[in-house]
């Protein structure tokens, strides 16, 4: 019809519609504002999911058991820690096979995120050099993939809970998603920061591997929170312990899924042992909210550092 009126070719129409649609202006500058950075990252959210999906499908391609491997790994850990601490060292924690995984899963999520994210930019050097996209997505995808593996591993915990007939503490269960959010924000902040630093200082990854071992034992996963919190509280140093942002999410998971605050020990003495803080939901919520606020501040700081370092990525890789 248009061609009858004025002799428009289809190409002209395409050109006209293009002129109207292309309002979006990209500015490449040495520095990018934080808000710009966040909206840009949001625009690429499909890439985030794509990269997470790639991570998962690639990891277990060509393996017969596939995703089952990611469940066997924590199951093995749980079995060994269970034998060592419960049967050999006799720590006396009842239903240790539930206590342990409820904290270990959270720790695993944190550890996998951090160690994968540290090398994320360096490992994807080929992409970073050839394609333009918000590079922090590489670090965030490592956290995302770790989260998906966490969900698979949670199945192991559920199986254990069914076997040992342990019910979650329903009144605390609503805190679990909040604990998850708190942990993911903190892990993302650290992931973004370390992925950029590792481009310049390649031994960051080794340093992190070592630090994570110490960090693991500074988190109440294998031993109960109260066993460390009570003695250091006598010296007024409990705040140092709580400075570890992984502590609160771990304890929240244990409170909601394991739930025994001060049970009778399974040892011969049958004394009462303190495992979790005997505080109400308010204590947990406050601590989680503090962790979230701190996490957001750190995340913004990490994005700032990433932005400063990003400019020379291509040359350093």
């Amino acid at each position: 019809m248009l061609s009858e009126q004025g002799g428009f070719e289809p190409e002209d129409i395409a050109a006209i519609s293009r002129r109207h649609s292309s309002g979006q202006l990209t500015v490449v500058k040495p520095k990018m504002s934080l808000r710009k950075r966040l909206t840009n990252t949001y625009r690429y959210r499909d890439l985030l999911f794509g990269l997470i999906g790639k991570e998962i499908s690639v990891k277990y391609k060509n393996s017969a058991l596939g995703i089952v491997w990611s469940m066997l790994n924590p199951a093995m850990y749980i079995l060994i820690y269970f034998l060592v601490f419960q049967k050999v060292l006799k720590n006396g924690v009842p239903d240790y096979a539930i206590f342990l995984p409820s904290g270990l899963l959270v720790w695993n999520l944190f550890q996998t995120s951090i160690s994968a994210a540290t090398t994320a930019v360096v490992d994807n050097a080929g992409l970073v050099k050839k394609v333009s996209f918000p590079r922090e997505i590489l670090a965030l995808a490592s956290v995302g993939a770790a989260f998906v593996f966490f969900l698979f591993q949670a199945i192991v915990l559920i199986i254990f809970m069914i076997i040992f007939r342990v019910l979650p503490t329903w009144g605390y269960l609503w805190l679990v998603p909040i604990a998850m959010v708190a942990l993911l924000i903190f892990a993302s902040a650290l992931a973004v920061f370390l992925s950029a630093v590792n481009v310049y200082l390649r031994d960051t990854r080794h340093l992190i591997e070592v630090l994570l071992v110490a960090w693991f034992w500074g988190t109440p996963v294998v031993y109960p929170y109260m066993e460390l919190a009570v003695p250091i509280n006598k010296h007024g140093l409990l705040w140092v312990y709580l400075l570890n942002p992984v502590v609160t999410p771990v304890v929240t998971f244990q409170r909601a899924l394991y739930g025994k605050v001060s049970p009778i020990s399974t040892n011969a003495a049958h004394a009462v042992i303190n495992i979790l803080p005997s505080a109400g939901q308010g204590w947990y919520l406050t601590h989680l909210l503090v962790t979230i606020v701190v996490g957001i501040v750190l995340f913004v700081g990490a994005l700032y550092v990433f932005g400063r370092l990003e400019g020379n990525f291509v040359e350093e890789l």
């Binding site: 190409e11 395409a14 050109a15 293009r18 002129r19 292309s22 309002g23 979006q24 202006l25 990209t26 500015v27 490449v28 500058k29 040495p30 625009r43 690429y44 499909d46 890439l47 999911f49 794509g50 990269l51 999906g53 790639k54 499908s57 690639v58 391609k61 060509n62 080929g126 992409l127 970073v128 050099k129 050839k130 394609v131 333009s132 996209f133 310049y200 200082l201 390649r202 031994d203 960051t204 340093l207 990003e310 400019g311 020379n312 291509v314 040359e315 350093e316």
Partner: protein, 410 residues
């Protein structure tokens, strides 16, 4: 017309480390001070690309053209200045960058498209087009690691061109793949041009730039040294190429070549006063004010000589291109002019042309031969190579006269 890409005062500094220090230990040892040299890959670049225009960036290796393209693409961030790009940008720096070998072609299309910034639902819509263009058919479900390099490249190109970009950045990628594929790429570039999309094209192939671009900028040593309509820009590029090539003969160098040449021929009588010498050689362009020739121009060579008394001397002429390859060589005998007798001082005018050459830098040398034995008496090239600028859209080496007739079917 509005501006699609605006590059304002962009500079890019690279740090060249004498020794790459990427470990914490080494940084601590050097107290954070790592010795490096600064290298400016781009300096104060100002470029504008109009909407719907196809712009070429040309320059020799290391001139900064690819760095500039990476800055426009947002892969590199400039050290200072800014670049404004209107609309969606797709950069084709390496086809299939980001393909994961373990994933199927289908999964890689989604992943690659999202890397280029396209939302998933839009990929859903274009998926069939991409597969059609890639000509992969049923192989799309196979893992990419089983693809041939041709299939890989086709898929990469298919994803990139189906991004519906407003601004397309192309870096030498058209040089890969077989001829069929190259033609397909060029067809696609042509249809993009017709649709009014903006293209920025980086190449060191002057022919490709001439065939594709409306305008071009020339980069040399991190700076824009000129720009304009493609033919003009290519002329500027030739000038800069010349500076770095061996075509500019200074008389001493010519002498050196002369002597080494003679000794290889084994003429031992050279130390004696030679029987004849070319005392000067100069090239005259039909329009000296222009400074270059165009195809089909007639250029003439003015040759002065000094001689004792010689019979049966042949005049030789040879034309070489910028790489030193021989384009043409003949003697007066070959050309049917026979031989000459030389007494004292004299002059030859050698007319070359109409030049059946399209474009490039060329050098001309003249020589004198003695018929008995064919020994070369003297050889001398012009001091400045001359340039042929091709104002047409034809590409290639020679200016071939071509005519096309249509014979109607009925």
């Amino acid at each position: 017309m509005s501006v699609a890409v605006q590059v304002v005062d962009v500079s890019k500094r690279f740090r060249l480390y004498k020794e790459k220090m990427t470990s914490l230990k080494e940084r601590v040892i050097h107290l954070g001070k790592v010795p490096y040299e600064e290298f400016w890959a781009l300096r104060d670049i100002n470029i504008e690309v109009q909407e719907g225009e196809t712009l070429g960036l040309i320059g020799h290796n290391g001139s900064g053209k690819s760095t500039l393209l990476k800055c426009i693409a947002g892969i590199l961030l400039p050290s200072s200045g800014e670049i404004r790009v209107r609309g969606r940008v797709a950069a084709m720096l390496e086809l299939g960058a980001g393909f994961h070998p373990e994933l199927s072609g289908r999964d890689n299309i989604y992943l690659n498209a999202s890397l280029l910034g396209m939302p998933k639902r839009e990929v859903d819509r274009r998926f069939d087009d991409i597969v059609d263009f890639s000509e992969l058919g049923g192989f799309i479900e196979n893992q990419v690691k089983f693809y041939s390099s041709g299939m890989y490249t086709r898929l990469g190109f298919a994803v990139a061109v189906n991004m519906d970009p407003d601004v397309l950045l192309i870096d030498e990628v058209l040089a890969v793949g077989d001829e069929n594929f190259q033609r397909k790429c060029l067809d696609k570039v042509n249809s993009f041009q017709k649709e009014g999309r903006t293209i920025v094209f980086v190449s060191h192939s002057a022919d490709l730039v001439r065939a594709v671009c409306d305008r071009a900028y020339v980069l040399d040593h991190s700076k824009v040294v000129g720009g304009g309509p493609t033919a003009e820009a290519i002329g500027i590029l030739r000038d800069y190429q010349l500076k770095g090539s061996g075509l500019n003969h200074d008389p001493n160098a010519a002498e050196a070549i002369d002597q080494s040449d003679d000794s290889s021929v084994g003429s031992s009588n050279r130390p004696q006063s030679p029987p004849a010498l070319i005392t000067s050689i100069s090239l005259l362009l039909p329009d000296p004010s222009r400074g270059y020739a165009v195809p089909n121009d007639i250029v003439s060579l003015d040759l002065h000589y000094e001689s004792t008394s010689l019979q049966e001397v042949l005049v030789g002429v040879e034309v070489t291109d910028v790489r030193g390859e021989l384009v043409f060589s003949a003697t007066s005998e070959d050309l049917g002019f026979g031989s000459y007798s030389l007494y004292g001082q004299g002059e030859f005018i050698v007319e070359l042309g109409p030049m059946p050459l399209l474009d490039g830098m060329f050098s001309v040398a003249a020589s004198l031969y003695q018929i008995p034995g064919g020994a070369r008496i003297d050889w001398r090239p012009i001091e400045q190579a001359f340039k042929i600028v091709n104002p047409t859209k034809c590409t290639g080496m020679v200016n071939m006269p071509v005519s096309i007739l249509q014979e109607s079917g009925s």
